[in-house]
Structures are given as structure tokens and as C-alpha cells.
Assembly symmetry: C2
Homo-oligomer: 274 residues x 2
């Protein structure tokens, strides 16, 4: 694993790594923030999965998470959103191919050889991160938009891997949205039965989450019709799922929304990972 | 004045404006953050001048200032760093021409017609900002690198315009640095006598600042030889200038440094602008 960049940040350390990924069959880049508390021993970790078009960098530079992670003694992991490189299949659209991995393992060509973000996040990168100095045993997960979808689906399917869960403006019902049907069809094929494992509303109906969940959604989000927070809200309440879904007045889908509530999410995870 | 973008941020409002600039003879873009307190009446303003290669956007998205400005009830102004556009003279180097206005009024061609960032910041944009709803009478100024140079020189030359002053890793002695001699020569000509008004170390020796100053400098900054904080430190102490110059262990020149101390600077200005 190669260190691409390292910067001191809030008395901790923000590092960008590159490594050859077995799951994705290409080089992958990710970032880890270690708070100052990690110098004295392992600390809990919060994973942040990013949205369409993002790399590891967006939330690392614009999310405002480090300040709060340093305060609460939490490490942060910022993975990329897809395999990358000239040898990796891509599409002209911003919402398919590179930058749009959707946190699934693709079953169809041309995506099948590299698009294995589900395995990459839950297995390969999980192992790499666990091997870093300062990283403790307890892991939380959150994410924004496509990454909120990733956080919710990966956690509900792997409750043994994650101890706390939240999301920012998640793509909440991809099997019924143009942000979802297109990608699930391309990556997984036309058998919609296979899609249900990648839809947080359906997973919420079917299994829910073992603890409480925090979901923030901007009430002025320009993508509300694609995100469908109402589907997740209905599923959560119908299941009597512990949790909080906050419609935030006036907020849109941007990182100005994410960083406005980054502090709340870090505190939420820190309390549950302590 | 045209609103290019507006996003809710920490219960306040982050707005990007574009306007035809008389001083610069081209369209200029800048950003203003209004904290929630501005809804009830005018609030003090902190100006943030950016460094080489930056636009209004860098600090607006990566500086982490809004969270603290919302806490303290301070507005923020993020100007661009130079005139822009195909009709505006430029240079292939990153440190001359567009993105590198150095906060001076150019006297030489080809820069003279547009490069008037000194007048733009202290007069034209000052007037525009003062006319916005929610903007109060008291103004502080800070900046990073070339923008730290801008903040220090503009404030020391215009103490009637600014009530508080700080800087992040300023280019502290441009008349004796390759970050300065090249640009001052290009924009102002070879008479070094004219350069002294654009050198914060020399201005500190000659006039100082009416109140206390806060300067943060990363001790592992990769540009220390170009910034020359030791020159400013000597001038400040020799003059018995009230203030604090902090060498911050391990920090470099990046926005990871700036946002690590954004909270301290906002609190510093808020206390002095109240």
C-alpha cells in the first residue's frame, strides 16, 4: 500500500493511500483520518461512502468531518465510489460506470470484471483498514446519496460488521427510481428479484437494523423524486425501527448540506461506538 | 449583481454572486456567507483573501469557516484572487496573471487594464458587500498565503476600513522572496521603492497595526522559504506589536492547515468585531 499524500489535520493525520485491489482488479485510492487520540491506542472508525461522481476526495476536503472526529476521537475512512482506470469499463453518463459503482458486485459484462464495490468495501478494504495502526474494533458507517444507499444496504446486510448507522440524503428506494433501475439493470441484469438486496427501503421492510438509525434529508433537495425518502420513512415507521429521520428545512443536496450536519452524525456515531 | 448559486449552510445562507467590475474591467465572482443571526439584523463581516491559483470557491468549500461563523454570528466574504476572462492578460506560470493578482493595482502593461485587485477589494467590492442585507459596519480581514499577504497589507494601509486582522501562512516579505519579486516587478515595475507598500514586514516596521494580530504558520509548511515568517516575526517583536504568531507543529500549507485553525480565527475576529 502506497501513501499518496499525508497532511496534519486538527492535530491528527489525513492520509491518502493507493493499493492494488484484488476485488476490483485495478488500483484503488482511499483516505483515512486518524484523530489525535489514535496516538494513544486504537479508536473506533466511521466509514463515509460518497455519492455519484465523487472520489475519496470530496468528503475528505469538503465534508467537515475531521474537526468533529478529532473532538470525539473517531477515525474516518473515505473510499472511492468505483473501480477506475483506462482498462475499466465506463459509460458517458455521470450515473453509470466510473464514479457510480452503486456498492454492488456486478454480474453482467462489461461491468463484471471490475465493478465489485460491495466486496471491496465489506471485505478487502475492511481488512486493509483493520490492519492500520490506531484503528479499533468498532465500525460505524454513513454516506451521502448513492453513498447513503451504500451505507444503509451494506449495514443492514452485514450487521456483524457495523455497530452504528446513519445516512445523508440516501437513494432510499433504487428499485423504484431512475437512480437505481438503470444501474441495477446494467450491473445485475433484468431479474428484479436480485435487486431487492440493494434497496434500503426493501431491506428495512424485510430485516431492519439492530440499533437506531439517523437519516438527514434536505427538504429543498433538488433530487427528492429520485431519492424517495418517503419510501424509507414509511418502511421505518411501519417496522417500528428505532431511529430519527430529519427533514432539514431549506437544505439542498450539496456538501453545504452534508457539512452542516457532519458534526451531528459524528457525535451520533461516537456515542454508539464508544 | 447576479446570484450564481445559493445554498443553505449551517442554518445560514452561502451565496455566490457575479457582477461587472468597474475596477477590474471584467466580470468578477465572489461569495458571501450570512449566518442565521443576520436574519435579525446586521452582523460583522470577516473577509477571507485566498492564495495563488484559488478562486472564491476554495475557502468557501474547503475552509470550514461557515460552521464557526454560524456559531459566532459573523458574515464571511470570499473574493476571487484576480480578474478573469479571455480578454484579461495571463501568464503560463501559476504564480502570475489570472489567479495571482497579489492584491495590487498594476501599473505596467499588459496587466494595467484589469489587474486592480487593491482597489477592487478595498473600494468596489467593499461597497457592494456593504450594500447587502444583513451586513454590519465592522469588518475584519484574514487570508491564506498570497491572501495572508493581502490581508496584512490592505489592513495596515487602511486601518479605517478594518477592525480586526489575522493571517494564515502569509507571504510575509514579498520584496525579498520569489513569491513577490517576480509579481511586483511585473505588475508595478522595477522601481523597488514602490514595492514597500505591498510588503507586510516592511509595513509592520513602518506603521504596524492598531490592534492585536493573529498569525498562524505551519511549521512543516513546504513553502517556508518563500513565505519568510521569520521576517514578519522579527518586525512584529521589534515594533512591540500586540499579537500572537503561532508556529503550528506538523502542519503544511494546505487547506488541511487552514481549516484546522479556521475556528480559532473566526472566534478571534468575532471577539474583536462584537
Amino acid at each position: 500500500m502506497e501513501v499518496v499524500a499525508q497532511n496534519r489535520s486538527f492535530d491528527g493525520r489525513q492520509t491518502v493511500y493507493r493499493h492494488g485491489s484484488e476485488a476490483c482488479g485495478c488500483d484503488m485510492t482511499f483516505a483515512v483520518y486518524l484523530p489525535p487520540q489514535a496516538e494513544s491506542g486504537p479508536v473506533p472508525v466511521l466509514w463515509y461512502l460518497s455519492g455519484l461522481t465523487c472520489t475519496h476526495e470530496n468528503a475528505m476536503t469538503k465534508g467537515g468531518f475531521q474537526e468533529h472526529a478529532a473532538m470525539h476521537g473517531l477515525a474516518l475512512v473515505f473510499p472511492d465510489t468505483s473501480p477506475r482506470g483506462p482498462e475499466v469499463a465506463d459509460d458517458e453518463a455521470y450515473d453509470l460506470g466510473q464514479g457510480a459503482g452503486f456498492y454492488v458486485n456486478a454480474k453482467r459484462d462489461p461491468w463484471k470484471p471490475h465493478y465489485r464495490m460491495y466486496d471491496y468495501i465489506t471485505e478487502e478494504l475492511r481488512g486493509l483498514v483493520a490492519g492500520l495502526d490506531g484503528i479499533g474494533e468498532r465500525h460505524g458507517i454513513t454516506g451521502h446519496s448513492m453513498g447513503g444507499h451504500g451505507a444503509l444496504t451494506l449495514a443492514m446486510r452485514n450487521p456483524h460488521l457495523y455497530d452504528s448507522l446513519s445516512a445523508f440524503a440516501p437513494i432510499a428506494h433504487p428499485t423504484r427510481s431512475d437512480w437505481g433501475r438503470k444501474q441495477l439493470s446494467a450491473y445485475l441484469g433484468d431479474d428484479e428479484g436480485c435487486w431487492a438486496l440493494h434497496d434500503s427501503t426493501l431491506l428495512m421492510e424485510e430485516r431492519g437494523w439492530k440499533e437506531d438509525i439517523l437519516v438527514d434529508q434536505g427538504a429543498s433537495d433538488q433530487f427528492l423524486e429520485l431519492l424517495q425518502p418517503e419510501a424509507l420513512a414509511e418502511a421505518m415507521t411501519r417496522r417500528r425501527q428505532s431511529g430519527v429521520l430529519r427533514m432539514q428545512h431549506g437544505y439542498d443536496h450539496s456538501y453545504f448540506f452534508v457539512n452542516s450536519f457532519a458534526g451531528d452524525h459524528v457525535a451520533w456515531h461516537a456515542a454508539r461506538l464508544a
